[in-house]
Amino acid sequence: MYKKDFPIFTNTKLNGSDLVYLDSAATTQKPQIVINKLKEFYENYNANIYRGIYNLSEEATALYENTRSRVADFLNVSSSEIIFTKGTTDGINFIVYTYAKNKLKKGDLVLLTEMEHHSNIVPWQILSKNIGFNIEYVPVSKEGKLKDLDKFLEFKPKILSITHVSNVLGCVNDISYISRLAHKIGCTVIVDGAQAVSHMKIDIKSLGCDFYVFSAHKMFGPTGVGILYGKNEILSEIDPVFGGGEMISSVTKEFPVFKSSPFKFEPGTQNFADVSVFSSSIDYIDSIGIGNISDYIKDLSSYAVKKLKGIKGLHVYGEGNLSGIISFDINGLHSHDIATLLNENNIAVRAGHHCAQILMSSLGVSSLTRCSLQIYNDRSDIDKLVYSLDKIVNYFN
């Protein structure tokens, strides 16, 4: 019923077949309202923000800052706690170099989990090589449950960086509970929210984490915009790593005086057009209601899992996790072949290691096929997927 809001489904056909887009965990499609807003911005508001003493610049600034306020309300935090980045990966790297680099010493422990995306592993490994802190990975069950988190916390990690929703298993980590446990031992909690924000109500105050990062493009918004939430008491204490224009109160030949957060963390010309447009993605989500999106995706996930399990030789990983992310393999077939064959019917899925090689290794697989759902998907998309998969399995048997 929401498919009509997304022009890509009208505009793209392959061999006469409609697009069945099942790769929303990689990026979501964009509703007309967001596409229009981008055009509208460039046609009516384009001017560099902050510095212009003229109407156009002031209007552009207001739109940019309006998005900050909208995001802050969306997450139930203050605007000064919202920093715009390029995306989730950029956000994690920001935290690693702006916060963690000064906090960590040789011999300290950073706790990750086996279900992390490479974006929440590799930056830590790079910094660890420089500083010499240790990294431990909390093991994950086949269903996506964390194992022995409490035991790992006994080793007193300085930082726990964890995903909210796994991009492979779709499991949801109980961040409120985890934050409480971690904070008891003074451990900072960083959360990768990339796979949560588009379909779950995110109330940072109730999650209790210290940092939360995500990408606009995975919630119907433009590419190149990320959101970093950081607690005011932390952001006010740390200095920026990147310097430039607009992030300073004054510059002398010695050392500059920085503006307060978030401005001290946004040097130079920002991606103001895309950030400004991002508020319309939140408008779109609000117009449906995040609770309704959540219910819809749960229902569709449940339908998809039930149908997929009827396919001979198909095994779903983390089948009880109804977050719109369903990964599976089929006996004797490689995920890339499955994806190539589905593409012949204009069905877009993701195949491979999903930037989660540690999880793949823990699950004992080299690759999986993943379908990820959004509000523009419906049962007919699942039926087409299942029909094509059945055909593929029959060909190879």
């Binding site: 490689h334 890339h336 072949d337 190539t340 064959l341 290691h353 080299s366 690759s367 593929i392 190879f396």
Partner: protein
């Protein structure tokens, strides 16, 4: 079925009937190859006598494309001069024989057996 499809009969048949996917007892060249992106792996076992390829066996795990291209290449190789094997058989020859249309990502799967043979040749010539 569109003949560019992965489900075309040539590919399905070649996939199901990989006659050199076997271990051979006598070989003097063993070479492993891997496509880290897909997790495809190949190990070639090649018996060369007086510069001529007498027998080829391989073990392959991975996608249909990498296995079919390995199978077809291995069949072409038998009887060829080992040192000149890749001068005599080009990737384009095999690509045309298989007749599938591949995206750039999947081309890497198709090229894996060639890359693996190149590794073995370089080793053989003391380049590795």
């Amino acid at each position: 079925m569109d003949n560019s499809s992965l489900l075309q009969s040539f590919i399905i048949e070649a996939y199901k009937n990989q006659k050199n996917k076997k271990s051979i007892d006598v070989y003097n060249i063993k070479q492993e190859g891997e496509n880290a992106l897909c997790g495809d792996t190949i190990t070639f076992y090649i018996n060369v006598v007086d510069d001529v390829i007498k027998d080829v066996g391989y073990d392959a795990k991975g996608c249909v494309i990498s296995q079919v291209f390995t199978s077809v290449l291995s069949e072409y190789m038998v009887g060829k001069n080992w040192n000149k094997v890749l001068d005599e058989i080009s990737f384009d020859d095999i690509y045309n024989t298989v007749g599938v249309s591949l995206s750039p990502t999947r081309l890497k799967c198709a090229k894996l057996p060639f890359e693996t043979i190149k590794l073995a040749l370089n080793k053989n010539m003391g380049h590795d």
